[in-house]
Amino acid sequence: MRIAVDREACTSAGMCALTDPARFDQDEDDGRVVLLEAEARDGDPDATAAAELCPSGAVTLHW
């Protein structure tokens, strides 16, 4: 599956970077999501949790 991030929707809570630090980082200036790796195995638990825990719907998964 592919991960997509929407930096306009991002509210910089840091849940993605906390949950899946291999794929997500945060901008140094305002903490917004930075996608390091857009590919993940289908059902990857970390990527799935990162999307689920995002408070503003900025992280989405696509098949």
Partner: protein, 400 residues
């Protein structure tokens, strides 16, 4: 339309036990989204107690905070009602996009997961100092005064660049502004005093900048001084009261659940999960968060009308049996992820990654350094913060 009598008055908030939300509130979960009548005048509005619906409401931009809250779900006016009466400039919890976004992004860069990782040694040093002070105050001491309150206060003061020496005044004022037993007028007087304090600090920071957030904000040409003061105000108040109460109430809860504590003792790698579980189980933001319906909306077949008040009971959502098995049990080994102790949506807590670091380091070091920590009085004698916007204990007499 004539069902007014069936609509219950208010959200139950008086607890029967130390750690559980009121039984009457949890009973309402049979209908996870329902109408209630608000104080003081009985106007109808909404109460969400279910996890999934609470998440949907808080993630939905039609439910806002930038309007005036006038009705309260509880007899004692909710803090959303008192603060929204005179929202300080920059106090971005009560702003909607695009203003909310502009202000929030001014500070989120210093609260990232990475920045908090870098801050860990400093938090650890502060925790060590406070444990030493606690022991020095012994053989018995008040854990709130010696440890739970100073740790987050020292950390947020250092981050913001607020002199810790001024803590007496700002701690009194922030406690007073969150004290539900006080009148709205008195609470707002305390908030205004705290705002005034920050207003004089901002130009001083510009004149003599330090390596701190207020100095950065004071020098930012896109921020007026009143906004910087308001941003400082929300960070200062939210940054120490909540974490302090989690540290003290969390310690109390663990002391009363020795089996859980023993597991953490055997396997300290459980602390991060334990912190999430304590956040869920204790939900110190125990009066719910409020929103106002900005435009007519439909969710789950229910029709929300513009102007209606909505209360999202985080303390109930975190005990939703549809989300968590045996939600009333404190279980440090469960996966508590997805809890709503920090809210959800655009306003989800700015300081959550800091609070996590403070709690992980604070709890782990405290129980390691004082392994025979115990209550100095029977648990029933501990004064609970029932009438405060942030739940916890007023004092926690301990010995070792």
């Amino acid at each position: 339309m004539s069902h007014t009598e069936d609509v219950p008055f208010g959200m139950p908030y008086r607890r029967e036990t130390r750690y559980d939300p009121p039984a009457g509130l949890l009973q309402l979960q049979e209908q996870p989204l329902r109408r209630i009548r608000y104080y003081p005048d009985g106007v109808e509005g909404w109460l969400a107690t279910g996890h999934a619906l609470s998440r949907r409401i808080l993630a939905d931009p039609r439910f806002v905070t930038g309007e005036r809250f006038v009705h309260s779900p509880t007899e004692l006016p909710h803090v959303f009602v008192s603060i929204s009466e005179q929202v300080p400039p920059g106090f971005f919890l009560f702003f909607d996009p695009p203003e909310h976004t502009r202000l929030r992004r001014k500070v989120t860069g210093v609260f990232t997961v990475k920045r908090m990782k870098e801050l860990e040694p400093r938090v650890a040093a502060i925790v060590d100092e406070r444990i030493a002070a606690l022991k020095a105050a012994g053989p018995g001491a008040d854990l709130v005064r010696e440890f739970a309150l100073p740790v987050p206060a020292l950390v947020i003061c250092e981050m913001l660049g607020v002199p810790y020496a001024d803590r007496d005044a700002f701690q009194r004022n922030s406690a007073d502004m969150l004290d539900l037993a006080r009148s709205v007028e008195d609470r707002n007087k305390s908030m205004a005093e705290l705002f005034g304090y920050l207003m004089q600090l901002v130009p001083a920071k510009r004149a003599d900048p330090g390596d701190d957030l207020l100095s950065v904000l004071a020098a930012d040409p896109e921020l007026h001084d009143v906004e910087t003061a308001g941003v400082g105000l929300i960070l200062l108040v939210a940054g120490h009261e909540t974490t302090a109460n989690m540290l003290a109430l969390g310690t109390f809860a663990l002391l009363e659940h020795p089996g859980q504590l023993a597991r953490l003792h055997d396997d300290p790698a459980l602390w991060p999960a334990a912190v999430e579980e304590l956040l869920r189980y204790l939900t110190v933001a125990h009066n719910g968060v409020m929103r106002i319906v900005k435009e007519d909306a439909e969710i789950d077949g229910r029709h929300f009308r513009a102007g209606e008040h909505v209360t999202v009971a985080l303390q109930a959502a975190n005990r939703d049996p549809g989300k968590y098995e045996r939600p009333g049990d404190l279980d440090v080994e469960r996966d508590a992820q997805g809890h709503m102790a920090f809210g959800h949506g655009l306003h989800q807590c700015v300081g959550q990654q800091l609070a996590r670091v403070e709690m992980r380091i604070g709890f782990a070091k405290l129980f390691e350094a004082v392994p025979d920590l115990r209550l100095a009085v029977p648990p029933e004698e501990i004064p609970m913060r029932s009438d405060m916007a942030v739940y916890g204990v007023h004092t926690l007499p301990v010995e070792w």
